[in-house]
Structures are given as structure tokens and as C-alpha cells.
């Protein structure tokens, strides 16, 4: 479960990115986090992953209090999350298999667990036959699937996707979003940050709209809010 209570965040340069946000995302939910550029979406992701600390308020994520978490606990908290980025962030010098292998080793998985889990996850994202390929040998859609597989491989409680379709064409975007919905149906909480209105409207999930650091709408259905690209 993710819970933000009266969270405020101001960067060192004086930019107030988040102004008193309170919201709760229950286990197993699928949520779109939408809003124009500069609205504070990315800051919320950074707060959830422990990259930045809030100036005020409390953040709880999967049982960890992120607002006053110790450095030692941050890796443990991050293991409950799977993060997907717009630019995939795959390691180009490693094969698809090795990109997933090092993530499992990072959390101390045994070689036996790794050999069992990676083929299963690659099959789940539709990349069963591409374990030995390098990221540069794959299409953008396939690379993003590898990124999803990497986010999934440690069986996280929550997947956070930051503009995952930003570099994909409409067909690939739809495929990818369908994959995330499928993953959600298997029990994983999914939070997708996006500003693609058509995609959001198509799935009819819960949508939290952020603007100027405030939650301006939280409803099920479609994209609410005037500006999309700020």
C-alpha cells in the first residue's frame, strides 16, 4: 500500500514541486498518475523511490516509512518496487538474460532461483526467445518489455512506470499498457505516470490528476484536467 499524507517537497533552488498532497493507493490497484509537464508527477516518483526526501508530511510504501527511512533500509524498500523508465535504462553491454540476472543477484537470489525465474518472466512479457540478444538488437517496444521484465523479476509488490510509452508508437504503447494491466491482474499494484490522454481514457482505471503540486482530481474513468502538456 502507498500512502502520502500532507506531503510537501521543495527543491534546493526554491522550486515548490509538491504542495500538501494526501492520497492512498491500495494493494492490487491500477492507478494512472497524470498531469502536465512540471506538475510534480516525477517528484512523486522520486519520493516513492527514496531518491529525494519530503520537506514535510509522511510517506508509507509497502510497510516502509520513506519520510524517515535509514540509508540501510532504502535498498530493502526498493526491493518491494519495480521501476520502469521512459528511456528503458537497460545495460547495453549485457544480454537480456544478464540484465535480469544482475537484478536478481543484487537482492541475493540463488543461481537456481535465477535460472527458474528469468525464463518465466521473459515468457510473461513475450520475449521467450530473446534471452541471448543485446538491447541494441531489439526494437523500442521489445526493450521496454525487457525493462518490464526487469521490474517484475524480483516479484515486487508495486510497479511504478514513469512515462513508459513515451518512446513508443501508439500500437506498441497499447500493447505495453495491456501487459501492465495483465501484470496488475496477477496481483501487483501498478502506478503509471503518463500524459497520454487517449491511453488513459481507453483503460477506465483510477486516475489521479496532479497540477502545480496539488491533486486536482482523483476519480475512476478518464483524464480530467485542462492542460496536458503544460
Amino acid at each position: 500500500m502507498i500512502r502520502l499524507k500532507d506531503v510537501e517537497m521543495e527543491y534546493e533552488n526554491g522550486t515548490k514541486a509538491i504542495r500538501g498532497i494526501t492520497l492512498t493507493i491500495e494493494d492490487g490497484e491500477f492507478v494512472f498518475l497524470v498531469g502536465p509537464s512540471g506538475s510534480g508527477k516525477s517528484t512523486i516518483i522520486k519520493l516513492l523511490t527514496g531518491e529525494v526526501e519530503p520537506c514535510a508530511g509522511r510517506i508509507m510504501i509497502n510497510g516502509f516509512s520513506v519520510s524517515n527511512i535509514s540509508n540501510r533500509q532504502i535498498p530493502l524498500m526498493r526491493r518491494t518496487l519495480g521501476v520502469i523508465f521512459q528511456d528503458f535504462r537497460l545495460i547495453e553491454k549485457k544480454t537480456v538474460y544478464d540484465n535480469l540476472d544482475f537484478v536478481m543477484r543484487a537482492v541475493g537470489a540463488s543461481p537456481k532461483e535465477i535460472r527458474k525465474r528469468i525464463p518465466y518472466v521473459l515468457e510473461l512479457v513475450g520475449l521467450g526467445g530473446k534471452a541471448d540478444r543485446y538491447p541494441t538488437e531489439l526494437s523500442g517496444g521489445e526493450q521496454q518489455r525487457v525493462a518490464i521484465a526487469r521490474a517484475l523479476v524480483n516479484n515486487p509488490d508495486t510497479i511504478i512506470a514513469d512515462e513508459p510509452t513515451g518512446n513508443l508508437d501508439p500500437d506498441r504503447s497499447l500493447e505495453l499498457m495491456s501487459l501492465l494491466v495483465k501484470i496488475n491482474e496477477l496481483g501487483t499494484t501498478v502506478v503509471v505516470v503518463t500524459h497520454e490522454k487517449d491511453l488513459v481514457d481507453r483503460f477506465g482505471k483510477r486516475v489521479i490528476t496532479i497540477d502545480s503540486g496539488h491533486v486536482i482530481n482523483d476519480s475512476v474513468g478518464g483524464y480530467v484536467g485542462g492542460r496536458i502538456h503544460g
Binding site: 535498498p75 526498493r78 521501476v83 545495460i91 553491454k93 537484478v103 543484487a106 540463488s110
Partner: protein
């Protein structure tokens, strides 16, 4: 769940080294250069020290026995002289022997060939362990009953001591400076390879890798840089040393200088190179990666 898979870390360190070929080549090259400079300087210092020791060994003190002493009384002084602290040896030379030695030194001078031994004194040739304490030792010899006079080259002994002290200080200071510079250069070289992989490190952190997990492959990589650099530097140093030793041996003027054979030095050289290489490599790696590990 395996807590630490060191085989994996070693494999990652090795493959990282190969996959970042140019930077690895640079890091190893700089390690070799630093070790070679430090090694050459140290070996010159070791040989200079050996040379000074040889010269010190040749520094003798002459103690002349009173004329009134019989040969038996003169010989009895030996134990007293040897009992003086800092005296390594006291060799007795009779009047007769001194006369013969003197004549032998000037074989062409007929005047010196048939001298009366009574114009010479019985004497002792003494050697000291520590030249720095030669002054007080000479005083003790002079105060020994039966010793009429002492002849010692205190200025030369003082010169040796000064030269050795200055050489030691300069050596230690230069080696320390070179070592610090080496760690700094290696650290910066590895920092460049680390900078090249900041995305990889960011991904590792994002998936919940601990700092230890991220650090270990870099430590292995630094270790490999150090040990490979040490091995290459060792063989280059060996070749260089032998070439210089051959050059000195073949030179008419320089061949008087005794060069310590490399066979006597290779074990400490190998140990120091391996140790310094590992410290430089691992230390450089750890210092380079530190800033990337801040959560």
C-alpha cells in the same frame, strides 16, 4: 538466498575490465608507470645504501699501544677493546707485522725495507658497528689504559652518516609522494571508468542493490588492475635493472660500483610491487566509487 556470491563479483570485475578496454589499459598502464618509477628509485636507494655500507666497512680506527707494554701485555688489551660497546672487531698488529706491512706498501723504496721494528708501536685495527657513535667510541678507546694514541677519520665517518641520513629522508619522502600521487592518478582513472557506468550503478541502486553489492565488482576490478600492473612492472623492472647492471659492469669507470644482483632482491621487489599494486588498485577503486554510492 546466497548472501554474497564472490564468484559472480570476480566474474563481473573481470568482464568489466575487458568491456572497458581503453580505460582498463590506461589504469594498468598508470599503475605500471607509478610502480616502475617508485621501484627504480627504491632500487637506486638500496644500491646506494649498500655502497655506503661497504665504504663504512672500510672505515677503520687505529689504536696505538704504549711503548712500555710487552707483547703479552699488548695482546691482553684485545679483550678490553672488544668489550667496548660499538666495537665490532679489534685486530692485533704487532710492531714486526706493522714494519712488514709498511715495507710492503713501498716496495720500491729501499730505505723502508730494513727498518727497525722498534720505531713502530704495537697497534689494533678496530671497526665500529655504528658510525654515528664513532666519536664516543674513540673516546672510550683513548681512555683504555695501555692505549697511547688513537687515529680515527671522524670527518669521513661524519660525512658518511650525513650522506646516509639525507639519502634516507629524501628517499622516504619521494617514495611517499610518488605513492600518494599514484593512488590519486589511479583513483581518477577509475573514476572515469566509474563515471562511464553511472547509469549501471543508478539501475543497481534503483533495484535495491546494497552498496556492498555495487562496490565488490569495482574492488575486484581495482585488485586486477593492481595485480596485473604489479606483474608487468616487476618484469619491466627486472629487465631494466639487469640492463643497467650490465652497463655498469661493462663500463671501465663504473665497474668499481658493486651492484646488488637482482636474484637477491626479486623477492622483496615482487612482494612490495604486489602489495603496492593491490593497495593502489583497490584504494583507487574504493575512493572513486564512493561518491556514486550516496543514496
Amino acid at each position: 538466498m546466497a548472501k554474497h556470491d564472490f564468484g559472480y563479483f570476480a566474474h563481473e570485475g573481470l568482464s568489466n575490465m575487458f568491456s572497458h578496454g581503453f580505460m582498463s589499459f590506461a589504469a594498468i598502464g598508470i599503475t605500471v608507470a607509478c610502480l616502475l618509477i617508485m621501484g627504480t628509485f627504491t632500487l637506486v636507494a638500496v644500491n646506494a645504501n649498500g655502497l655506503l655500507e661497504d665504504l663504512e666497512q672500510e672505515n677503520e680506527i687505529l689504536a696505538y699501544v704504549e711503548d712500555t707494554y710487552t707483547e703479552a701485555e699488548s695482546k691482553a688489551l684485545q679483550k678490553k677493546l672488544e668489550a667496548i660497546p660499538n666495537v665490532v672487531s679489534a685486530a692485533y698488529i704487532s710492531k714486526q707485522q706493522a714494519t712488514e706491512d709498511f715495507a710492503a706498501r713501498y716496495p720500491d723504496e729501499q730505505l723502508f725495507q730494513n727498518l727497525d721494528p722498534e720505531i713502530f708501536r704495537d697497534r689494533y685495527v678496530l671497526k665500529v658497528a655504528n658510525l654515528e657513535r664513532q666519536g664516543e667510541t674513540v673516546e672510550q678507546i683513548r681512555n683504555t689504559p695501555g692505549i697511547a694514541n688513537v687515529n680515527a677519520h671522524e670527518e669521513i665517518a661524519g660525512g658518511f652518516v650525513t650522506v646516509r641520513n639525507v639519502a634516507t629522508v629524501v628517499c622516504v619522502a619521494l617514495i611517499a609522494i610518488l605513492f600518494v600521487v599514484s593512488v590519486f592518478i589511479i583513483s581518477n582513472t577509475i573514476k572515469l571508468t566509474t563515471y562511464d557506468r553511472r547509469d549501471e550503478i543508478a539501475i543497481m541502486r534503483m533495484v535495491g542493490a546494497t552498496n556492498g553489492f555495487i562496490r565488490w565488482p569495482f574492488v575486484y576490478e581495482g585488485f586486477l588492475f593492481g595485480i596485473l600492473g604489479a606483474v608487468i612492472a616487476f618484469f619491466l623492472q627486472w629487465g631494466l635493472y639487469e640492463a643497467v647492471a650490465r652497463g655498469v659492469a661493462n663500463n671501465d669507470t663504473l665497474q668499481l660500483i658493486h651492484i646488488i644482483p637482482f636474484e637477491q632482491l626479486w623477492v622483496p621487489v615482487a612482494e612490495v610491487f604486489a602489495g603496492a599494486g593491490i593497495v593502489i588498485g583497490v584504494g583507487g577503486s574504493l575512493s572513486a566509487i564512493r561518491k556514486f554510492l550516496q543514496v
